[in-house]
């Protein structure tokens, strides 16, 4: 039985998106192709969530095409500190996003296209989707040497990864999404996907790094638009539907009611960092203070992105033990985050004894701790 509100949601999306030229088509083998007008990674991920939660895919599958401005996207169960250079990303204003599907970490920019295949759980088939993409690429440029591996990657020239895959399965629906490198900035890609954080021990899903190449390098005449078009064409053919790409605005609440809440949730600290599986850090570093170099050993346990336990080993009496333990207690329960740690350190430095020497030692130690985040 179809319930009124559900019908309303589907109808809203279908009515607004359906082209008048299509007429009244039988939707039994329907395929709807939509493309996002936004380059905001959070808005686009929210569209995926919305379709996954609200659309009835029994009679109609959906292909969603999207591109993002520079962002690093980690998998559902990954550890951002382990996967990417958060410090560099903050400096370069590259966003961090955590998607709801599994898999590894990828770098997105406007030279990369994202494809999401929505089906019911029964019709979930990743290999078929990837073969569709390969078929589209070969139809566009027959000389391209591309194939799908067992790990659901697409390789160029049997060597270079041009596409990675991830998937999400819910109660009734599922989606499989993948990237496709057309003309992304490989230099930025390799520098942000290299983590500078040492000594992390975690059960989070690790990424498998691979050599990548842009399709543009193989054939400079290729653009993202051409690739999107070719893939849409192939999808339309296979689903016996109109090759018509309908544009969708991820900020439109009338078409996608509740989307702005989903977008907001994807940007919260609790989702981005708090969902990191429990991990520990065990590392040492050198501190240069006046004329000497000191060895410092730090051990921390981080759960839900917050510091559960912290232990600092310093050379004897460099800091009074009482002061050191006060400092450490200060951070207990706070976010493993440079901004918050800096604020707490500042408050601590205001109220601790104002001996200049002690003050500058504490300050130096805090700065180094913040570097770990």
């Amino acid at each position: 039985m179809v319930l009124p509100s559900l019908v309303k949601n589907c109808l809203q999306l279908s009515c607004i998106l359906r082209t008048p030229k299509a007429g009244f088509r039988s939707t039994t083998s329907g395929g709807l192709i939509i493309q996002s007008v936004s380059n905001d990674v959070y808005q686009n991920l929210a569209v995926e969530d919305w379709i996954h939660d609200h659309m009835d895919l029994e009679n109609q599958q959906v292909l969603f095409l999207w591109r993002n401005s520079p962002a690093v996207v980690i998998g559902r169960h990954q550890n951002p500190w382990q996967e990417c250079n958060l410090r560099l990303m903050r400096q370069k204003n590259i966003k961090l996003a955590r998607r709801r599907s599994g898999g590894g970490t990828v770098y997105h920019d406007l030279g990369n296209i994202n494809l999401t295949f929505f089906t019911t759980k029964k019709k979930y088939e990743r290999m078929a989707n990837l073969k569709l993409v390969v078929k589209a690429l070969k139809a566009l440029r027959p000389q391209l040497e591309v194939h799908v591996t067992e790990r659901y990657d697409i390789l160029l020239d049997r060597q270079y990864k041009i596409s990675g895959t991830a998937a999400k399965l819910g109660r009734t629906t599922a989606y499989h999404h993948c990237t496709l490198l057309c003309n992304a900035d490989k230099f930025v890609l390799s520098s942000v996907l290299k983590s500078p954080y040492k000594g992390i021990k975690s059960n989070a899903t690790p990424s498998v790094s691979a050599s990548v190449k842009n399709l543009f390098e193989e054939d400079p005449s290729l653009t993202c638009e051409m690739l999107l078009d070719a893939i849409a064409e192939e999808y339309a053919t296979q689903h016996q539907t109109d090759h018509h790409i309908t544009l969708i605005n991820p900020t439109d609440e009338t078409v996608l009611p509740g989307i702005s809440n989903k977008t907001k949730e994807l940007q919260t600290w609790e989702w981005l960092y708090g969902k990191t599986p429990q991990f520990s850090i065990s590392t040492c570093f050198n501190m240069v203070y006046k004329d000497s170099v000191l060895d410092v050993k730090v051990d921390m346990d981080v759960k839900h992105g917050r510091i559960e336990a912290c232990n600092i080993d310093l050379p004897e009496q460099w800091l009074p033990p009482a002061l050191c333990s006060e400092l450490v207690k200060n951070f207990a329960g706070s976010k493993f985050c440079p901004n918050e740690t800096t604020t707490l350190a500042t408050a601590f430095l205001r109220v601790c004894p104002q001996d200049d020497e002690l003050h500058s030692r504490c300050s130096l130690l805090c700065e180094n701790l913040i570097m770990l985040m």
Binding site: R126, A167, P277, G333, T342, T343, A347
Partner: protein, 476 residues
């Protein structure tokens, strides 16, 4: 007989929360109590092993990545139970039954097997709805049985169809007002709730007139009920406020503020306030703004306030000092590191401009720009945030006139600036003119600073700002 069972079970349910309070330590103890009750009354619970269903693509094993529930929690059908991962696919496993979680068969990061038990759920035997193999495909609309459901101790009655409608629209049943018998939630209630959310207008419900009178009718406001109208009037229903108190631990920025302000309590504060006529300064800034813009710097009023404060501190250095813990020594700080309070998304931060005594107004403006952009991006380092000796807080950008600022230890004074208002004032000739008036509120540590010092400093600062040309005489 069936109904009798239901009644007994529900009374046990009501009692259970009390037992949770008393015997909250050992789960074993708790379930023993449960069993005792059960054997003497009615056998209600039935432990069902919920098996991990097929995920597709021939996958046989997955890793458990996150549990959404723990042993002892109540779950409803379609609630999320856990997140598992298999080869780049993340799967949300939802419950097939209503009941209580009795056992989790796997720990985090363990491998779970398709077809093997995932969790044990104790279901209500009085339900009479047989667990279906694939509930998702055919919602049991033919069963109009009313299923009891506990959401955190609050009983909610709703048919499976209504629950599915709520779930599909991401609505918590506990937030919906039920208008059916015994506060049962009807389909109309969900639709009305949705209408309020999206502002959509729904067609009038044909059942509106036959809703039975509610038990709490005394509290219903006397709204005129026009019997000819078919559209349900929400006002006639008792207003149920389902908001709950929320308790959170104090961490992060809040914790930092608690620490700082608790220490500030030890300082005996006194306040001194005044009003400043900024008419001339407003004009000067208008002239200088484009010049600064050409050099790539945004010029606000703060650089002038900061520089004037530093000039004042040269004459009254005790305001730029620090008192040690035992109040035995006063340290006169050589550098004027003037802090500027900033309001960011996360909370209050106070970066400082270092060595204002040797900076020009333009240099201060430039440094402020840098601190502001780092501050809003959450990227300020300890170097910029520590070492302050005196603070100014421009709360006037948000609003307000006079305030009572709190000194930030280890400093001894702070000034808070209100908003600039255009007010009528008398000039030297006794004429009324339009003046740009701003209020300043100083607080100082009365252990080492007296009222006279503060007043004189404030007067000097005020004179620099009311007559900016006079700053030229003393600029270093």
């Amino acid at each position: 007989v069936c109904i009798h069972h239901v009644r007994s079970c529900s009374s046990i349910r009501f009692v259970r929360p009390k037992y949770v309070c008393v015997f909250d330590k050992s789960a074993v103890k708790f379930s023993h109590q449960q069993r005792l009750f059960r054997t003497t009354a009615v056998s209600c619970g039935q432990i069902v092993q919920f098996k991990l269903s097929d995920i597709g693509e021939g996958i046989t094993e997955v890793t458990v990545k996150e549990w959404y529930i723990k042993e002892g929690d109540s779950v409803s059908q379609f609630d999320s139970i856990c997140e598992v991962q298999s080869d780049k696919a993340s799967v949300t496993i939802t419950s097939r039954y209503d009941g209580i979680i009795r056992k989790l068969h796997y720990n985090l990061d363990e491998i779970a097997f398709v077809g093997k038990p995932l969790v044990d759920i104790e279901i209500d035997a009085s339900k009479g709805v047989a667990p279906e193999e694939d509930v998702v495909e055919t919602p049991p609309m033919s069963h109009e049985e009313h299923t009891h459901q506990e959401i955190k101790g609050h009983k909610t009655l709703a048919t499976p169809a209504v629950r599915r409608l709520a779930m599909e629209n991401n609505i918590k049943l506990s937030e919906v007002v039920g208008t059916g018998k015994d506060n049962r939630i009807l389909k109309e209630d969900i639709l009305n709730y949705l209408a309020k959310q999206t502002g959509a207008i729904l067609p009038p419900s044909p059942k509106a007139e036959i809703i039975p009178p509610l038990p709490k009718s005394e509290t219903v406001p006397a709204a005129p009920k026009d019997k000819a109208h078919k559209i349900p009037v929400p006002v006639s229903r008792p207003i149920v406020f389902s908001g709950k108190d929320k308790t959170e631990p104090v961490t992060g920025f809040q914790k930092a503020m608690v620490k700082t302000m608790s220490a500030a309590l030890k300082i005996p504060h006194f306040g001194y306030c005044d009003e400043i006529d900024l008419t001339q300064l407003v004009q000067l800034r208008e002239e200088l703004k484009p010049l600064a813009q050409l050099r790539g710097v945004k010029l606000s009023f703060m650089p002038f306030f900061i520089k004037a404060a530093s000039l004042g501190l040269l004459q009254y250095p005790i305001l730029n000092a620090s008192l040690d813990e035992n109040c035995q020594n006063v340290t006169y700080k050589a550098s004027h590191n003037i802090g500027v309070a900033m309001d960011t998304e996360q909370g209050l931060i106070v970066p400082n401009v270092k060595n204002v005594q040797v900076c020009s107004v333009f240099e201060i403006a430039s440094e402020l720009n840098r601190l502001q952009s780092l501050g809003s991006a959450g990227q300020l380092g300890t170097n910029d945030l520590t070492g302050g000796t005196f603070t100014l807080s421009n709360i006037g950008t948000i609003g307000g006139t006079y305030t009572k600022p709190v000194i930030l230890p280890p400093e001894v004074a702070i000034g808070a600036l209100g908003k600039i208002q255009v007010l009528p004032r008398f000039n030297g000739k006794g004429e009324v003119f339009k003046a740009q008036i701003m209020n300043v509120s100083w607080s100082a540590d009365h252990r080492i600073i007296d009222g006279a010092t503060m007043a004189r400093f404030s007067n000097l600062w005020k004179s620099y700002l009311e007559n900016p040309a006079s700053m030229l005489l003393d600029l270093k």
